[in-house]
């Protein structure tokens, strides 16, 4: 039996401690040790992004992080995105815009989209496609996903402040919506 290391981290705001072998990825620890099965194993080699979680606020492929590297880290998974029974606006927009079919890629897309919108509340379509390029979807053809992120940006902006304040001139969704409504 391989030696296990004790690791203490914060997952979705809760302090957690776990034992893991050095060879176990953060993804394996999340799914098999902490029973958080929202992050998915797709390619297991850093191409598909289905296992994306936020590590100290940054999106990472959890299949390319060792569990032992999580010592002291703040981790957010898809399970930590909704607020009690209330879906996060990004989750709600993915549902309403039918931005998923099989759903395997969805948790990863939502985590990357959240990291993007947390930093850039009004991204252009190009910025959305560029920042989401580390997430692959084999069902939707991406258009609906991009639209869902644009709609999320609008919804988050309107709940955070007035739409006009967010409708800057960089061609982002708020600006597009403001132009449409004229």
């Amino acid at each position: 039996m391989a030696k296990k290391t004790h690791v203490a981290a914060t997952v979705n705001g809760q302090p957690v401690e776990f034992l893991c072998e050095a060879r176990q990825s953060l993804l394996e620890v999340l799914r098999d040790v902490l029973q958080l099965t929202g992050a998915k194993e797709g390619c297991n080699n850093g191409n598909c992004g289905a296992c994306t979680v936020l590590l100290d606020g940054l999106p990472v492929d959890s299949c390319l992080v060792l569990g032992v590297e999580a010592e002291g880290a703040q981790i957010t998974t898809i399970e930590g995105v909704a607020n009690d029974a209330q879906l996060h606006p990004i989750q709600q927009c993915f549902l309403e815009d039918a931005a998923l079919q099989c759903g395997i890629c969805t948790p990863g897309f939502i985590m990357t989209a959240k990291a993007l919108l947390d930093r850039n509340p009004n991204p252009s379509e190009h910025e959305i496609r560029f920042q989401l390029s580390g997430n692959l979807c084999r069902c939707t053809g991406y258009d609906k996903i991009v639209r869902a992120v644009q709609d999320s940006a609008l919804r988050m902006a309107s709940s955070a402040a007035t739409t006009s304040k967010a409708a800057s001139a960089n061609g982002g969704p708020a600006a597009v919506a403001a132009a449409r409504s004229k």
């Binding site: 080699n45 940054l58 390319l64 992080v65 060792l66 496609r129 920042q131 580390g134």
Partner: protein, 296 residues
Amino acid sequence: MKDFEFQTATTIDEAVSLLSARGDRAKVLTGGTDLIVQLREGQREADLVVDVKKIAELMEMKYSAAAGLKLGAAVPCYRIYGDAEVSSAYPALADSARIIGGWQIQSRASVGGNLCNSSPAADSIPSLIVHAVTCQLAGPHGRRNVPVADFCTGPGKNVLGRGEILAVLEFRAPAPKSSSAYLRFIPRNEMDIAVVGAASWVQLNKAGDTIEAARVALAAVAPTPLFAADLSEWLAGKPATAETFAAAAEQARQAARPISDKRGTHDYRRHLAGVLTQRTLAIAVDRANGKQPAIH
């Protein structure tokens, strides 16, 4: 993945002593975006993995216009393109850091790791070569410096000896009227390995119409990233015009000695080496003249 022992080093001496004891059976972990895949897929084996991200010197990015840049070998890509001063002083480096994998990879992957992985197609190495970076290595016998153009010795191979690690990448202070650019060709928009990559650095005269000095480097056209020395020397003193860039393209095609593989044929890669050399020279010249050409 086969199990291995894991150690976190907090000083360079500690890392060197852990690595020296195990030789080839020990591997250095920075971002892990190559190493973890290689261990999982059996391309590399390790009894010991040493995480060096807790060594302060390896995580430091220190820039001043007078002294240049000291880039710790484990600094992840996102910190490079996220720093406006560093991006503007070394544009080719920022161009590379922005397109290595996707965002998830850039959150972890380091330029030092990209160099030590020593892929002929590595996106950051041509940019390091054209910026004439010096690699500071630390090993059991102390420190030594290696010019980055001499670092890689073959696909996946480099000059690092037993117990030796890459500590710091040293960039010269940016010269006036100088700039650089990196482009790669891939069949997708993002997230792929270069069919060919090219970086150019130029220093212009005061008027901005003549190249005083230049360096061009190519990726994925030889067993290691390639410094196009003859072409770089030829460019000195030439007018900064489209005709010069086109003539440079022909020389880059001659300098390239690629193989045919699943990513492209020999002929296609030589063609791309020319196209990308021409474009990166034009972008570097525009940037040196204070323009901001669109590159994506």
